[in-house]
């Protein structure tokens, strides 16, 4: 009868005490299982949502730092230009899958209409200050188009740019299907935009100082794929959709030429580019940021597409934090309660322990017997609480999410490369408390480590026992 068998015998022969210990462990196990379930479910949400958010990164001004500047600093601050050289240097880093940089301008047109779902019922079109409808001329440097590569839009007709077209600024464009349909444009057709330079007189009347036509040949037609028309906020959706549909992709060089025409004689004109890098893996984000940050001009920072997770996942994040606190508190409580309960039970078994020691049993084996007993009961209690704790977590988290989400105000999204159509609803939908292998393993690991820690005080008690004082 080794110490393991003695432990088993002790459990079955002291049914009352074993059941008390089991009940305590079951209750505490539920709290730990619940906290781990929630914590792991939130971690899974974070992983899957960040994956859906993509591996995009851009370089932008640190607006928080700008806000903290005083007026004089702000006046003297000149926004630095990232420049093509730096963007290309960063784009060549091993973490980058592909990259692009864009310069954008808005051109009017008297020849084609812009797409505007909000004005479909009303007659007329959106016009700005007496100009014709405005189109976003978005310059690109990456010929296959990042939006298509990244699945944000689909090329439904024609082709993407060639490297020569990008390099030479050839007047070719890729337009949206809605814009093409609205203006009966097809691949191979040509349409014209107008680059006009205005001056406003003192009376507020506009005067066209100069203008030139920008003829563009349609080489491809795209259709946006990811803007979610199920959005709860249709106006927001319409705005984003309109922005996207009226975007005309051309080469950066072409935008640059039109900008130069628009600024006229201004000697210090420089092209300002917004870069966008697609990283190989989400895990590369940290290393990429670490390597890029020292290269950036003052007040520029790296921003990742996954950064928007924090804003859309607030209910999940607050629950994640809560579950972490609950887990820590329940582990500490378990250590104390189980430690004290076991110590109390051991005091009742002082004579038995003295007998083992008087028979020459090694103290470590006596300790081993007690740990065996506690672990066997713990594993039974933990196994029972594994299922109930998971159910408890589901109920509690549903209630917490509902509560938190109802208190949250809607946020407005704008279309950019970093924009996502994922909403808080998507995050909540992705949240699922389930009984996975990882959860089970983690729960048993946390549980067993907690139980082992809780036996430290009782074990010190055993090690200090003096058999003579007990037996004689």
């Amino acid at each position: 009868m080794n110490f393991f068998k003695r432990g088993l015998l002790s459990i079955t022969r002291r049914k009352g005490k074993s059941l008390i210990l089991l009940a305590v462990l079951f209750i505490l196990g539920n709290v730990i299982a619940g906290a781990i379930s929630i914590s792991q479910a939130t971690a899974n949400v974070e992983e899957s949502i960040k994956e859906r958010l993509g591996t995009g990164a851009t370089l932008e001004l640190d607006y928080e730092a700008l806000d903290s500047m005083d007026e004089s600093e702000m006046m003297n601050f000149e926004i630095p230009n990232l420049g093509e050289e730096l963007i290309n240097q960063i784009g060549e880093l091993p973490y980058v899958k592909y990259y692009d940089y864009n310069t954008t301008t808005f051109l009017a047109s008297e020849e084609i209409e812009s797409y505007n779902p909000m004005m479909e019922e009303a007659e007329g079109e959106v016009e700005m200050a007496g100009m014709g409808p405005q189109f976003q001329l978005k310059g690109v440097n990456y010929a296959p188009l990042l939006d298509i590569e990244e699945g944000k839009s689909e090329l439904v007709d024609g082709r993407v740019f060639t490297d020569e077209e990008i390099e030479n600024g050839t007047p070719v464009a890729i337009i949206s299907k809605k814009l093409a349909d609205l203006n009966n444009l097809q691949v191979g057709d040509t349409f014209s935009l107008s680059n006009q330079i205005y001056e406003f007189s003192e009376s507020g009347e506009e005067e066209v100082l100069d203008s030139r036509d920008v003829p563009l040949e349609v080489i491809g037609i795209f259709e946006p794929k990811t803007v979610n028309s199920d959005s709860e906020n249709p106006e927001e959706f319409d705005y984003m959709d309109m922005d996207f549909q009226n975007t005309i992709y051309v080469a950066n060089a072409l935008v640059s030429q039109e900008m130069e025409f628009a600024v006229g004689d201004m000697p210090e004109y420089e092209d300002y580019y917004v870069p966008f890098f697609v990283l190989n893996e989400p895990e590369d984000a940290e290393a990429f940021e670490e390597e890029v940050s020292p290269l950036l001009p003052e007040l520029f920072i790296v921003r990742h597409a996954s950064d928007s997770y924090d804003s859309i996942a607030a209910p999940i994040e607050s629950m994640s934090n809560l579950s972490k606190y609950v887990l820590i508190a329940s582990v500490i409580t378990t250590i104390l309660i189980i430690g004290l309960v076991v110590l109390l039970f051991l005091r009742d078994r002082k004579r038995e322990l003295g007998i083992y020691l008087s028979l020459g049993e090694a103290r470590m084996r006596v300790v081993g017997q007690i740990i065996t007993e506690v672990l066997i009961i713990s594993i039974i209690g933990m196994t029972l609480s594994l299922f109930t704790g998971n159910l408890l977590a589901q109920t509690v988290s549903d209630s917490l999410i509902d509560n938190d989400n109802n208190q949250r105000e809607d946020e407005i999204y704008y279309y950019t490369e970093m924009q996502t159509d994922l909403t808080t609803e998507d995050v909540i939908d992705a949240y699922e408390v389930s009984l996975t292998g990882d959860f089970i393993l983690l729960f048993y690991a946390v549980g067993i480590i907690t139980i082992l820690l809780s036996t430290v005080i009782p074990l010190i008690y055993i090690i200090r026992l003096n058999p003579k004082k007990i037996m004689m």
């Binding site: 009868m1 015998l9 004579r351 008087s358 020459g360 004689m472």
Partner: protein, 223 residues
């Protein structure tokens, strides 16, 4: 000679002064004999037994088993493999059956024992006067005498040559007391064990092969 105490001193420190329980105690014991250590309450009998059984350590002197200081043998090792101890209050595990109590000590010792521990334990209990039916009862369902027999069986189960008993008949009636003493005599004379028993009973002492008298910490062969 199987066991020897050499210049044993044991005292309690009381401030600056020392209250000696044992003073320069020298005694030796042989196999095949039944010894009694006689003394009144507080004379140091139990302290001497606790030193001989390695439950405690003397302040001076040494206990030698089979020519070797028990400190060298190791106290746990000595108790596990060299000595069987019987206590006045039996000290059995109350939630275990009689046979399980015997099996516990058999599992702890490293002495060579027959493979079938359970059969050995039943046979031993039967030899001591505990039937198989009683052997399967939890010990708190046995009488005092029966519990002490189980304790004796447990002490013998590890196949040791030295049995130390601390007033084992103190809680028993006269009839039961005699039965236990008869068992000890048998163990000493027939099985060549060295049985050392602490008692305050002159009647028991008279039945032993040799009696040591302990008075105010001093051990003598004469009263």
């Amino acid at each position: 000679m199987i066991l020897e105490a050499k210049d044993l001193n044991y005292y309690y420190q009381d401030g600056e002064s020392r209250r000696f329980v044992l003073k320069n105690t020298n005694v030796s014991f042989d196999k095949g004999k039944f010894y009694t250590i006689l003394g009144q309450s507080g004379s140091g009998k139990t302290t001497l037994l606790s030193l001989l059984s390695a439950m405690d350590t003397p302040h001076n002197g040494e206990v030698v088993f089979d020519g070797k200081n028990i400190l060298e043998i190791g106290h746990d090792n000595y108790r596990r493999n060299k000595v069987g101890i019987i206590f006045q209050s039996y000290n059995l595990i109350p939630t275990f059956t009689a046979v399980e109590n015997v099996l516990v000590s058999m599992s702890i010792t490293e002495n060579e024992l027959p493979d079938d521990h359970k059969t050995v334990a039943y046979n031993l209990l039967d030899y001591i006067g505990i039937s198989q039916d009683k052997a399967n009862r939890t010990v708190n369902k046995l009488s005092g005498g029966e519990q002490q027999r189980v304790a004796i069986a447990r002490a013998l189960s590890t196949n040791v040559e030295l049995i130390l008993a601390d007033e084992p008949t103190g809680n028993l009636d006269e009839e039961m007391e005699q039965e236990i003493i008869d068992i000890f005599k048998k163990l000493a004379h027939e099985h060549k064990k060295c049985v050392i028993m602490v008692t305050h009973s002159n009647d028991i002492a008279e039945q032993s092969d040799q009696t040591f008298y302990l008075k105010k910490g001093v051990l003598n062969t004469n009263e």
